[in-house]
């Protein structure tokens, strides 16, 4: 009874506020809501957020800091989200919702020791490899592309391998596993691109 009154009130026209006031307040509220939502979304894309959990900081982050995606000649750095979170809104939202499962993992402590992490490393890696493969290495391609490569400037083996990959319709992650984190024990020859 009370609920239906409340619903009826919501649906009835305002007798107190003008359409302009209502529209203005709605518009500003929308901006504030959207801005806040987006800021929250961006905050969870920061490297600092990712390594605020010791599971990431003590394991994959330490490995990443030794790679070219962390430190290089030009100073361009790819942080966690550049590789692991899509840039476009739709895929980003889907990924963020999927990632909420990781919160449950954190609560239950599924990888809260080095031993547990290592025991699960292959499964975690395979899950991410599959995601990247399914998207044709979309996040890699945000920065890298075959068309943008100057084979003359590449070392021989890079030029040769990329020419082969192009010919065989391969995607970045087919070969570039273990480039930012250690390769897991137990990966197969097929997973190595062979």
């Amino acid at each position: 009874m009370v609920a239906s009154n409340w619903w009826a009130k919501l649906r009835s026209p305002s007798v107190k506020y003008s359409l302009l006031t209502l529209s203005g307040v709605g518009f500003i509220s929308g901006i504030l809501f959207w801005g806040g939502f987006n800021t929250g979304m961006e905050a969870t894309n920061q490297l600092e957020f990712c390594i605020s959990c010791h599971e990431m900081k003590d394991n994959v982050y330490q490995e990443y800091t030794k790679t070219i995606h962390y430190s290089n000649r030009t100073g361009v750095r790819a942080v966690c989200s550049d590789c692991h979170v899509p840039k476009d809104w739709t895929h980003k939202m889907i990924r963020k919702i999927q990632a909420s499962g990781e919160v449950w993992g954190k609560i239950t402590g599924s990888i809260d020791t080095r031993e547990k992490f290592e025991a699960k490393r292959l499964q975690l890696a395979r899950s991410e490899w599959a995601r990247m493969k399914a998207s044709d290495s979309r996040e890699c391609r945000n920065c890298h592309s075959f068309d943008g490569m100057d084979e003359e400037k590449q070392i021989n083996r890079a030029a040769k391998q990329h020419a082969n990959a192009r010919r065989d319709n391969m995607t970045c992650i087919d070969c570039h596993k273990g480039i930012a984190h250690n390769k897991p024990e137990g990966m197969t020859e097929d997973e190595a691109g062979g």
Partner: protein, 303 residues
Amino acid sequence: MNKALMTVSALGLALAGMTGTALAAPDWSKVAVRKVAVFHPGASGLEWVMKGTEHGGAKGTKKGERCTGCHENEKTMNIDIAADRILAGEKLEPKPVKGRVPIIMVNVQAANDGSNLYLRFNWKEPAGKAAVMDKDNPVKLAVMFEDNKVVYKDDKGKEVEIGLAAGCWGTCHTDARTMPGADDKKTKYVTGASLASGNYYDLIQWKSGKGGKAADGYVADKRVMEGGKALVSAEGKKDGDTWTVTFTRKLAGGGEGDIAMVSGKSYNMGFAIHNDHSAGRFHHVSLGYSLGIDAKADITAAK
């Protein structure tokens, strides 16, 4: 001794005379030079080469692509392999070597006169001195050949022409002597070797010690340092800081494990230098190269 001349006229000289073979050594100043880099390979046996989880190029090798395609710069002929990191023990080398260089550039020349193949290797002795492993021989040089018949099965059982793709690596296994944890009596070998089918490597070697020694053998199910009758002579000398080693080999072969070479065909070869009294796997090795007898190849032995 600055100009140590160490000559081996292995039995072959006499044989050559007996068979009437003329030893028409070429004028090397007129023979094209092919630069080849030899490098410290660490413990990178064939099993490592073929393992994609360890070696990014394994997928190419399994398709029969040659090591040089990725690892050799076609302009400078230098190689893109982190031999310095291997030597230092950062990868693939559980026993880091101090006092040795990672890469030596070698000038290789080849010629033939219809009867013999002549091979000449020339390199500047690098500075540095590591622990002595072979006290009798400051330097050794071995060459392996095969007649496009050496194969190795990959993880899916597919045959790869490994002699063509990888040269000597067809004999280099991670369970052979001086490899980490390997049986000290197990020599180089070819998997599924057969002298009858040609799945083996012909081998010739020159040693600098004790006035020089030569060997003519082969690598099949094990390494055999005798039985060949193709090697006519192996000579080595050091002028100043430059070593020169020259082999004269009968094209036709004739002994056990000798491949017969004919004009117009090419073969696969690789070579290794045991520099600075080194032994076993602590040599400097070349990738695989083709050797053409009057045929276009990486190294052509023309008349």
